[in-house]
Symmetry: C2
Subunit: 430 residues, 2 copies
Amino acid sequence: MSDKTKLSTESYKGVRDFYPEDLFIQNYIFNTWKEVVEKFGYVEYSASLLESAELYRAKSGEEIVNEQTYTFTDRGDREVTLRPEMTPTVARLVAAKENELAFPLRWYSIPNLFRYEKPQRGRLREHWQLNVDLFGVENRSADTEIITVGYEIMKKFGAKDTDFSIKINNRKIVNALYGKFGLNPENSNKASKVIDKKAKMSPDGFETALEELLNDKTKDFISLLESDEKLLEYIGIENPDVKDLVATIDELLSAGIENIVFDPTLMRGFDYYTGMVFEVFDLSPENNRSLFGGGRYDDLTSLFGEKKIPAVGFGEGDVTMKDFLETHELLPKYKPSTDLYICLLGDEFRSKGNEIAKKLREKGVNVAVDLSQKKLGEQIKIADRQKIPFIICVGENEINSGIYPLKNMLTGVESKIKIEEVSAIIRNHS
Amino acid sequence: MSDKTKLSTESYKGVRDFYPEDLFIQNYIFNTWKEVVEKFGYVEYSASLLESAELYRAKSGEEIVNEQTYTFTDRGDREVTLRPEMTPTVARLVAAKENELAFPLRWYSIPNLFRYEKPQRGRLREHWQLNVDLFGVENRSADTEIITVGYEIMKKFGAKDTDFSIKINNRKIVNALYGKFGLNPENSNKASKVIDKKAKMSPDGFETALEELLNDKTKDFISLLESDEKLLEYIGIENPDVKDLVATIDELLSAGIENIVFDPTLMRGFDYYTGMVFEVFDLSPENNRSLFGGGRYDDLTSLFGEKKIPAVGFGEGDVTMKDFLETHELLPKYKPSTDLYICLLGDEFRSKGNEIAKKLREKGVNVAVDLSQKKLGEQIKIADRQKIPFIICVGENEINSGIYPLKNMLTGVESKIKIEEVSAIIRNHS
C-alpha cells in the first residue's frame, strides 16, 4: 500500500449514515412516536446498548445469542452483547426497582438494536425501535390501551384506517386449543412455530408440517384455525380467555378502532408472550407485510426477582415505519432547523451581522451568518442549497438606513423591513 | 446452579441505566445543547456507532485501537470498533459527499462514545458527547463562532462568567516556538506531550522532563511558556498566527466574552489539531477541571479524499456537564412529561375516562388514565409518586353534573371545573 492509500468513506456494512436530510426523517418518526406515547402518559427511560450476554441466554438460548447477536468477551472476561431487543433490558430495570416504582408504570424508549445477520430490505444490522410498555396491570384495560396507542401512532403518521389492519390473538386461547388436541408443551411449541410460518408456506406444506404433530386430527385443527367463530365456540364462549378477547375487541370497536381482526394464527416470534398478542399489517398490495406488534408478557420480570409483574407492550422499528410512510407518501419534505441565513456584503460587516443574529436568536430565530467571504450570489447559493427558507443582506446601505431586504427563498418574495420585524415574519411562515 | 438462580439486575460495568428521572436530566442537557447550536444554524446529522477499526488506526495507531477501544472481528472478518470519538466519523461523512455538500457547513450530533478503560468519576465506558463542527472556513471567523457557541451553551445552562474560563492557544504558535528552539518534529511532539501533562506534574518534574529535549535552553523555554506577552513578542507580533490569535481574542472580548485567556500550555490530546485550540475550565474550587474543548483540524478529511477541507469544532460530554451542573446547582427538578392523571371511581367509568382523556389529548394535554382498579386514595398516591402535577376524578356525580374536581398536586389547590377548562389551567401552570 502506498502512502496515498485513502480511507474508505463507506459506513460499516448493514448500518446507516444519517446526513441532515436523512436525520430529519428519522427525527420526524421519533418525534411523532414521542408525541403520541407521551399523550397517553408514557414517560421515557433509556439504557446502554451494552448488556451482559446472560440477559439473552436466559430466554433465547445459547445458540441464538451466539449466532444472531453481536457478542464478544471484554478484558474483564465478561460476555457482552449489543442488545438485539429492548424487552429484557426494560424487565431488568423494572425488576431492579420493583419496590420503589409506583405501578401501573407507563414507560417508553427508542433504543437502537443490533442483529448479526445478512442485511436485506427492511432488516439492517442496526435499527431503532420504539418500545412502549405498561407494567403492573393484569386486566385487559392495559391490552386495550396498548393497542390504542399503536393505532393512534398510525393515525398521527397520517395513515387511514383502510391502510392497515390490526390482528389480535391470545396465547391462552391457542394453548387451550393445543390442550384439546392433546398436544404436550413441546409439540405445542412446535405447532406454534409451524403456524407462525403459515403465510410463507403452501397450504399443502402447512398441512404436512402439522400432520407430524396432529396425525389424523390435522384437518379438524386447520378448519378451526381458519374460522374464528367456530374456534371460539369450540374453546367455549364462557371460557374466561375467550370472553376477555371478545371484550377487548368490543372495547376497541366502540372506541372507534374498526380495523381490528381476530386471527388465531397470529403467533409472534418471542417465547415470552403469555396472553394477548397483536400485530399491525400494511394493507397496500406492494408492501403487504407486518409493520409492528407486541403483546402481554407476564413472566419476564420474575427472571430477576421474586415478584411477577404483569406487563404488556409493543415494539415498532424505524426502518419498517419509514418504508410504510414512503409507500403511502406520508413523509414530510426536508426543512432544516435553520430559519435565516445572513449574507454579508463584505467581511467588515461580520460583527454587525453577528450582532443582528444575536438579537434574532434571542427572539427564537435560528440564524446562520455567512463566513464564506464569497460574493453575494455565491452566498445566496449556499443558503439555497442548504434549503434555508429566508435570507437577509447586511451591507453599508442597510446598516445606515436600518432597512434590510428579507427574502423568502421558497416564494421569492422580498420585503424591506426593520430587524425587529424579522422574527414575526419568520414565525408566521413556519 | 439451581433452577432458582435469578438473573442480575445490574447494568454492564461502566455504563448507565436511565430511569425516567435520570433521562429527564440527560434530555435537559441534550435539549439545551440542541437549542443553542440550532440557534447558530447548526443542523443535526448522525451515524452508527459501529465503524471500521481502520478509521481509527489511521490517526491513532494500532496500540490505541486495540487497548483503548472496543474492537472485535465480525463474521465477515471485518474489524469493527464501537466509536471512541465522533470526529473521524464526521470527517468520513463530509469527505464522502464533498462535491455535493454546500460549504460552509454547520453540523452537530450527540453520539454515544465508548472507551475500553477502568470506569472512574466522570469517565465511564459509554458517554454521550455533543459534537459541533464548522467545515469549509479557513479564516478565524469560524474559530470565533465555534468558541462563541461553546460560551453560549454555558450561559444557557445558567453558568455565570465567573464560573468558568475559556483557554485558547494556537498549535502554529507553539510549533513556531519549537522551531526557534531547534526541536525536530519528533521532539516537538514529545514536548507537546510533556506540556499537556504540566498541570499534573511538579515544577521540578516538568523541568526535568523538558531538559531531555531542550538541555540548557529549558529555563528560557519555560519562562516564555509562562509569560504570554513575552512569548508573543518572542515569536513576533507581526507573525500572522500571532496576529490571528490576538484578533480572535479581541473579537471575542468585543462580543462580550470576557473570560477568554491565552494559554500557550494548552495542548489538547488529539494529534489532528492544526491551529487554534480551546478548552473550557470549571473555576469552582471543588470541581476545578476541564469541561470541554476543541479546535481546528484542517487535515482530517484529506485522509479520505483529494480535498482538504478546513474544519473547526468541539466536543462536550454529558457526564462532565452533569457534574458541572450539579456542582453549581444548575440542574432542573424532575417533571414528568405527563400533565394529568385521571382517577376512576370504579372500572365502569373507564370508557368515560378514556373519552375525556382523548378530548384533552387533542388539546395538547398528556393524560394517563388509571388502570389500577384500586381505591381513590391509592390512585392519588400513584400519581403523587410518579410526580404527575394534576389529577382529576371521574365518577357518577362528575359525569352527571359535568363538573370535575381538578387538583394541583404541587399546591394542593382544587378547582371544580368543566372538562373544556382543564387544558387552559394546565397550560398556564407549565
